[in-house]
Amino acid sequence: MINVSHLSKRYGLFTALDDITFSVEGSGVVGFLGPNGAGKSTTMNILTGYLSATDGTVLIGGHNILDEPNQAKSLIGYLPEMPPLYIDMTVREYLSFIFDLKKIRMPKEEHIEKICKESGIWDVSSRLIANLSKGYRQRVGLAQALLGDPPLLILDEPTVGLDPKQIIEIRNFIKELGKEHTVLLSSHILPEIEATCSRILVINHGRLVADGNPESLCENMEEPHLQLILQAPRDEALSALRKLPSVKVAVCSERRENGTCLFSIEEKGDARKEIFSLCKEQDWPILELHSHEQSLEQVFLRLTSGEYDDGHLLPKNDPPSVSSAAADTSADSKEGSDKE
């Protein structure tokens, strides 16, 4: 659906996007994550044809956004960062205008009614957009993107300005949309990305730094390790732990009162069963054992710290430089990015 290759955007000397390559096929929700000014909105604006790239090509459903703009644009529903609302119109007039603008061939009244109900603006549909609250405006923006049922939805921070209840509603709605549509969603809100997206693209300083599903991102970042609190003699326990086959490194990071010790264990595979048997054998009570996983938040902070800007975390597919189209026909929504 989306094929982006070597996309760059420069404003004078400032490079907003630097050689971004990725592609998205099939339905599903793809999260676009990055700190402020990383280039998320710029990328989305280029994908939708609002801006032009300095370099690189964008194919939407096989149509180049520059050569066949109308074919490409008719596949996209776009909710920009700031919903493009004419505040002097009522919701219904506005949606009717967008309906005509997009040259949609569907029964107009029914379709608009359906979209209004889906996005929860049916009860305000006869009000002026100027008199709507931020949350409702956001939803009108979402509704205009959904008009015509385009196969590709590009949503730039769709839940901004909504209250917690609405956020959950919209999130579920987006998940629902992801079943039949390709959704590209940008957000700062990590739990949102975690909850809705099956694949995440992380962008920093205009470069793509990571691409994968949330779990694999967390795993790639660091080896999993365990934290263990035992009531046991320190040295004896440490040497016993180090002998376990699945334990790579074990250290006693803290010694506590009443004879308990905190161990940090880096494992190869799963060491928990071995630890349990050992402790049972030795009669050392396990007070605590948990695997210390990185949250997506920590992953995000590290990814955007700059140390991954060279893209070494990106998945490397077999044919490294061939056009993404060939590589991606077989790819599901989890993979599909080429990076040379």
């Binding site: 044809g49 609002y50 493009p84 002097d88 005509d100």
Partner: protein, 234 residues
């Protein structure tokens, strides 16, 4: 194109802009008709339109000033430019809506002429010549003002600069008569909107003038569309 035209027209008539502009113009027409008919006791309607010319040209920038500036400022142009519509259609739709608002005021100005027609016989060729001349001149001015509006996010800048152009076009003939260089004078005479407009006011339907005004309008619509396109690249 049709969608944009419809929306623009609705937006003019949903806001006070169209009513104020048309209302003020019609009030001024009323005043100048009164002036000609009662104070000068004549049916020489051409003088109504020549007095109104200045006001028409000052109102056009007000009608068009928001067309692109506001879109850009409110980022509503994102909806237009990411929809499957070409930039020419956008420019042309907006142009037609503004022209229609202007035309409504011109048509309104015909009402007194028709009333006069009941009691006397004004020279209809001159009346319609004036209307058409103003309409064509107006079309060219609307296209120019819309182009200026596409250059800036600020409506005031758009309005003042197009008023500047309107005034410049009004005084360009005088500049032509001051300059001694014959080539420059010729160029100025060729640009002169006024001489082309004057032929209409004397009741002559001059095809070359019509073509001139429509070409100016088309040229500036082209520039506006290119400007919308070009903004993506900077």
């Amino acid at each position: 194109m049709k969608a944009i035209f419809k929306r623009e027209l609705n937006s003019y008539f949903h806001s006070p802009i169209a009513y104020v502009c048309i209302g003020v113009l019609l009030a001024l027409y009323g005043f100048f008709y009164y002036n000609v008919l009662l104070l000068q006791t004549s049916t020489y309607i051409s003088s109504v339109y020549s007095s109104m010319f200045l006001f028409n040209m000052l109102v056009i920038p007000i009608i068009t000033m928001r067309s692109f500036s506001e879109e850009r400022k409110n980022k509503t142009d994102q909806a237009l430019l990411t929809a499957p519509v070409g930039t020419y259609a956008i420019a042309f739709g907006k142009f037609l809506a503004a022209l229609l608002v202007f035309a409504v005021s011109l048509l309104g100005s015909l009402i007194p002429a028709f009333v006069i027609g009941i009691f006397s016989s004004p020279n209809w060729a001159i009346v319609f010549g004036n209307i058409l001349g103003t309409l064509f001149y107006g079309a060219a001015m609307i296209a120019i003002s819309m182009f200026l509006s596409s250059l800036t996010e600020n409506q005031i800048v758009a309005a003042i600069s197009s008023m500047g152009v309107a005034v410049f076009l009004m005084v360009i003939d005088q500049i032509g008569s001051i300059v001694s260089n014959s080539v420059v004078t010729q160029i100025i005479n060729w640009i002169s909107f006024n001489t082309r407009y004057k032929t209409f006011t004397s009741g002559v339907f001059d095809l070359s003038s019509l073509v001139f005004f429509l070409s100016v309008a088309a040229a500036f619509l082209f520039l506006t569309a290119r400007r919308l396109e070009g903004r993506r690249w900077n």
